[in-house]
Subunit: 353 residues, 3 copies
């Protein structure tokens, strides 16, 4: 049921920028590959294969020395490009004494890594997460680790009818929301989803941060980029005040950024934040939103990890498609095409783990 | 060494009746299949595949609505026969939107499930566990989870010579008991075993609930039905007072019911009780018997789980048969024949997990 | 990367002598085989396959009776040669009712087991661990369990350049030590390594047990016997006082004995001690040395278990050899030859697990 393998020629979020601090080494597994991250003295993030080429000790148990990193097993030293530049007691350094180096770009609070051919790494493909650092938005950084394939989490995010059933007490939704049919637009590298719920109730988490005398209009408009980045415009505003016609006033608006990065075939890194543009000076509002989302995401995780366990133990039979699956079907078909192209045209065979 | 696979066209004990309560969902794995149990408003037990046909979320994380059950991921609703009767936001329900439903019968405190072809489910095949609910007997319900294939537990119960070695301080046995040869009678779907130990000591657990001025006669007479139900008449009475000739007076009698239900190939549900027909109004006697058996069964489990671990790690060589294996050999040969018939004649291929 | 399989026709350390006490049964897995050890009434160590031939219950859950052992599942009794000598309730004992018995020799504090053809077990091949029991040496027995293949630990011990990087605060080493090239001499069944570091600093653990007004000479001279026994002469003495020319006076000397015994392909028993010949009556010195070594070995373990985890999850690519690998290369080539000979000439096929 899970599509196996990964898309390699793509940017993935590897970390929040503050996770990588000069002088400290961060080991993180991405697409099944152990990677050692560190920050150079000039502040640039370096990503090296986390495996010394000598006896396969992890470099992350080593030591940063200037902009280089030393393996603390037998002392081999590597530069940020992965070339070995010192072997204790040995003058000659073999050419093949090197570790893989990965292209990395830090952009608007997130550290992005390119897992495929380095010469195809195009920084202009990195999605714009402006709301994570704009002074007009506030947020608290989120991270969650999942015992599930990343695509099951993406499925979840591509069909918000689950809000009604999984999140009645947090992100919330009525039967009307579950019954809504979103507009889905296919893009070159992703899908755009737009869902409006008019003249309905605000969600429990809305009520914690705003006043709603009557019914409201709610919207969720997002791009979901292959292989796993969601950027969303969502919000809530008094009903029949023109939100859908573009007249936003007194709305509570959010610009959520969410990134799913496969750790392995069955585990996932989930980086997320839900920036808001109101009550900018009230940290308790930012906290309230963060806590609501943590609670809601744990509701999702309980369901999705259970789904993964069923897939693990009973790989038989087909899933029955329903109308609400339209967006996830489109997304998976785009991803499938890109993975197919990569394998057949892109010479990615050697990337397979 | 373990026979692999299972007999499907058969009743298995799935639960004690009190485990399934209206409004609550019980998830239990049986023969490797995740099953969701619930009780209808009329009190009838329903057993559905614990996997929504849509995205394979577990129904047991859902909600009972009347006699139906709703998946709380995207809201699909199923009736007790497993047919999907509602998909939010979708008028048409595809025919294949259904989950498997299993025949279930509640009989004398136990809930029985039929794991094979539904049209072969014959309730008259269910063993009679009268002693679990008769007013002439008292018992406390027992359950134990085993990290071992169910057949190793059945082997244990088919050769009581182990009482002498595994249970010296509980169910107890002398060398005389271990040396006894039981009478074994082969039946169509099981074996009958009869073991008498005359003029010997009572067991430690007997002494806790009865007075024995001298030696005793002890007996164990049981049917063991394929694939895993033991119904036993056992007891103890002053020696040379005619117990073996059928003259029971002042005997302590037990009518044990024990059921082994495979959870997986290497784990087992063990449902059991040891009803007694004396001191019916003294709950401390019922408790004492229950506690003695719990302690004894933990002695068994320690040995049998160790045996399973050895089988797991060293699958080489043959087990050497001894005379005391006669009953377990017969039992396994009957089971083997029934499994063979099922696979070749019964069209059970599709049941294999 | 790991050489798979084991050398069977060889002595392995199975236990410290004090671990095996008359009347107690010790279960230990060696080369993937579960073995039950006990001590006869005359003090001789017995090693039997830890699996009753009847239903594969572990003998180690049994009971020593005189010099025999009884399985406490159904009561079969075995003599020290592994022959079944009693089956309750059965006069005739089948010939094949026996368990494997292993040659065992207790020698100078260690219990050695021969894992191959019993008739090839030659006690003269057992290395001489005199320092473990000589009155001229003192030591505290050490044991460590490793989640790594034994060869990775041997690699570590065959290249002391790692002292500089892994053990700066314990066994210690300067850059000079890491840069040193040891003399390596190939033997019939192992390698001899000799490393001198002249006019350098003492190690942190030296300073805890000795006074050093100035620089010192340090030496490490050891035989490493296939498949895994290291016997070392090491020490420290004031620099330029002739240690290398054989003039030892006021030296702190050690005669370390270390044995790596595979438990499985990925776990290892590590028996070790570091006897010293000074301050023989000061137990705090023995303790200090023991504690320093425990701390240092935990530093090794952290690195080597991490190395094993990388090998486990990413079995691709080659390790890049460096000059410092000379001893481990020789050792592995000798072991490889002996394993090859054993498989092709020695008829060891049936030993493979």
């Amino acid at each position: 049921m899970a599509m196996s393998g990964f898309l390699y020629n793509s940017w993935y979020v590897a970390a929040w920028d503050h996770e990588i601090v000069t002088g400290q080494l961060l080991s993180r597994k991405i697409l099944g590959q152990n990677i050692c991250f560190y920050r150079s003295e000039e502040g640039k993030v370096v990503a090296l294969e986390d495996r010394c080429c000598h006896r396969w000790a992890p470099l992350s148990l080593g030591r940063q020395e200037g902009n280089a990193i030393r393996c603390m097993y037998h002392g081999l030293k590597f530069d940020p490009q992965g070339a070995c530049i010192e072997i204790p007691g040995q003058a000659q350094i073999p050419d093949k004494a090197r570790v893989r180096s990965y292209p990395v770009v830090q952009s608007k609070r997130w550290v992005w890594i390119w897992m495929g051919d380095a010469d195809k790494a195009d920084p202009t493909l990195i999605p714009d997460t402006f709301s994570l650092e704009s002074p007009e938005w506030r947020m608290k950084p989120g991270y969650m680790h999942y015992q599930a394939n990343y695509l099951y989490i993406i499925d979840n995010l591509l069909d918000f009818s689950h809000l009604t059933f999984v999140h009645p007490d947090t992100l919330g939704g009525t039967e009307a929301l579950a019954g809504q049919r979103p507009a889905i637009r296919r893009m070159e590298r992703g899908v755009n989803v737009e869902r409006w719920v008019l003249d309905d109730q605000p969600a429990p988490f809305h009520k914690k941060v705003g006043q709603f005398p009557g019914d409201v209009d709610r919207w969720y408009i997002y791009d979901f980029w292959v292989p796993g980045v969601l950027l969303m415009d969502s919000g809530v505003q008094a009903a029949r005040t023109g939100a859908r016609e573009g007249k936003r006033h007194d709305a509570l608006e959010f610009r959520s950024c969410q990134a799913l990065t496969p750790e392995t075939e069955t585990t996932t890194h989930y980086f997320w934040a839900v920036p808001h543009n109101f009550a900018l000076d009230d940290a308790s509002v930012t906290d309230s939103i963060y806590q609501s989302v943590v609670t809601a995401f744990e509701e999702d995780r309980r369901m999705i990890e259970a789904q993964q366990r069923i897939v693990d133990t009973a790989p038989e039979g087909d899933m029955v498609a329903i109308v609400a699956d339209a967006a996830l079907m489109q997304f998976r078909s785009i991803l499938q095409r890109m993975m197919h192209d990569e394998r057949t045209k892109g010479g990615m065979h050697d990337m397979a783990t």
